[in-house]
Amino acid sequence: MSPISAQQSALNPDADSLTPAQRMAERAAIDRSCRTPCLVFFGTSMFWLMLGTILAIIASTKLHTPEFMVSLPFFGDVGLLTFGRIRPAHLNTVIYGWASTAALGVCVWLMARLCRVQVMNTWILVTAGALWNLGVFVGMLGILLGWSTGVEWLEMPTQAAFILFTSYALMSVWAILMFANRKPGHIFVSQWYIFGALFWFPWLYGCVQILLLLQPVEGSVQGIINWWFAHNVLGLWFTPIGLATAYYLIPKVTGKPIHSYYLSILGFWSLALFYSWNGGHHLVNGPVPAWIISVSIVASAMMIIPVVTVAINHHLTMKGSFHLLKTSPTLRFVVFGAMSYTLASLQGISMAFRISNEVTHFTHYTIGHSHVGMYLFFTMMMFGAMYYIMPRLVGWEWPSARLIKIHFWCTAVGGVVMIIALAGGGIEQGLKLVNIWLKEAPTEANPSGTPYSFMEILAGTLPWLWVRTMSGILIFIGHVAFGINFVLMLLRRGERRLTPTLLGEKSSSPKLEAVTA
């Protein structure tokens, strides 16, 4: 066999000089070594996903029905059920509990597969996983009991943040050890992203903890730093992990290498360069120096480069394999996620300009946008990854194709309906708030027209918010279906399958998803 060039190995996750039998044996051993840590991360992330979805439905309902769940039997009115605590509890549960925990699990597996070494120092990972969950638990409890710091995306009390940071530091140490022991000559695209994410997140998190909570800086600089962090959590932590997953799983399931090396490089470096500057666009027209906002708007516009590059690269890799979406659960979720990434990013770019931001900022439109990113892109990507990885850890295929279908359709339809409701409601709210959409058009007697009163604007959002709650319930049904399948799989229920569980009757190429692939 000819030696593998670095470029080739960056594109093809299967580029090595092993015989198929050797490769299978190597992978089986690696997957076995991932079993305990990955199951710790995936299992606990499932718990937070369920809790986070319930908190989401409660918060969403409270927005249109404020008397919903304000008191407990015997206790009467309690603070822990108020909207202003449930909402951050939801955000922190899904961001740190579900998404980050699932991401760490995927990271462990991808690292082991791509470094082509068995997981060493499992105890570090298990300790990190336990600490991470402890941190999320303490943090969520702190928020509900009224010890929130009040800083968006960083509400968890500092004690919880300290536990989370320690856990993450352990993960980074483990990752460095893995990188140091990797088999030579093989840095696949996904590893660039993972390497970046594992370096960027602790810096971000440590820096804001100091500058916003331990030794807070003065005044509105806090706003700039706050959004530098919150935007980069998406851009430099979740996005790289999501893209690393897509870059690995699309070639795996389709059996083809990534389309272009140069597009991969361009996509990665332009993301690293531009995304990190985006945060300032959360303060358009706000009380911060105009240059910060301008720089962030320019960087946001430049995001077109990484987004389009990655979209083209993924699309051309998928080309000719779209029929697999009918059968492969992994591919269906991953491609859905990858397409949502493009949508989320283009939407984000369109919201960054001064004119458009004036309308969409401070409205439900922004909330919708963050759900395109965190739900339709990242969460769906993690579902796809779990569909691929779990059978390899447990040695048992997914028990029910029907539950997978319910999971997909409920989450996809629910997610899309939610985005439409929040976008539609947000645009209406925004146009009315800035007096572009007027109650009465200008006349000669009344040259500036009559704007809507605040209460009228609020009333206008309520039907949209009802739709959003309904979509949340649909999503929850999807999550329950996934949860049932997950538990049945751990219990090794259902028939013993030798080939992967596929959707639909005709399985076009089951061997590509066989357990040892």
């Binding site: 009115d77 710091t149 990190s276 027209n285 706000g286 401070f362 922004t366 609020l458």
Partner: protein, 214 residues
């Protein structure tokens, strides 16, 4: 890219550039900002918060007011017709836009990202303490159509002693809400008093800043 060192240097440099730009330089530019001193009265602008209002800021944080209320009066990026003011000012949320100096001493900041409810940058100029207490206790009764959650857990019922507590809720001004039984009154807890002290201190349009003169 098959060398870890190249990868690392690139990842480091791209990130540090943005870190310098969005964290370090803004800090250098604004970190030394001081309150403005009124030449005649010697009063500080923005004024420092009282102890109760400072504690109220923590109540505001703990109960997540920031998720529905911003505290910034924005300018407008649109070219507005002659004589027209930016929408935030037209809505009565402040007489001028807010500036970085308006936020000195605020830890944490409550710039906010959402306006499910109105902006609060100047709410202290709009309502009295009694109104705030009634509104926090029963928002929908005080402002019709409001979806603000009731903060009844910040109030307590107690037996009336003597002439009663001065800031007990006046139920004749809260339409449709059942008053407590005879001999009892609903009074704000310390937390509610602190929160209202904080809300009343939000009056950024009541002082002038040199940068507002532009």
């Amino acid at each position: 890219m098959n060398k870890l060192s190249t990868l690392f240097v690139g990842i480091f440099i791209t990130f540090v550039s943005a870190w310098l730009g969005l964290v370090v330089i803004p800090y250098i530019q604004l970190g030394g900002l001081k309150p403005e001193k009124d030449e005649i009265t010697g009063a500080l602008m923005p004024p420092a918060l009282s102890g109760s209002a400072q504690r109220g800021r923590l109540v505001y944080a703990a109960n997540g007011c920031v998720y529905c209320h911003s505290q910034q009066v924005r300018g407008s990026a649109r070219r507005l017709p002659e004589g027209e003011v930016p929408p935030d000012i037209a809505r009565g949320w402040g007489a001028r836009r807010t500036f970085p100096r308006d936020y000195l001493g605020e830890r944490p900041h409550f710039l906010g990202t959402m306006r499910t409810g109105p902006d609060l940058a100047n709410v202290g100029l709009r309502y009295t303490a009694d109104w705030q207490h009634r509104h926090l206790y029963a928002p929908a009764a005080i402002s019709r159509g409001s979806t603000m959650p009731p903060f009844r857990y910040l109030y307590k019922k107690q037996r009336i002693v003597g002439a009663g507590t001065p800031d007990a809720l006046d139920f004749s001004l809260i339409p449709g809400v059942e008053p407590p039984e005879e001999g009892y009154e609903i009074v704000p807890t310390e937390q509610a008093r602190d929160l209202v002290a904080y809300l009343l201190a939000l009056r950024r349009s009541s002082y002038d800043l040199p940068e507002a003169a532009e």
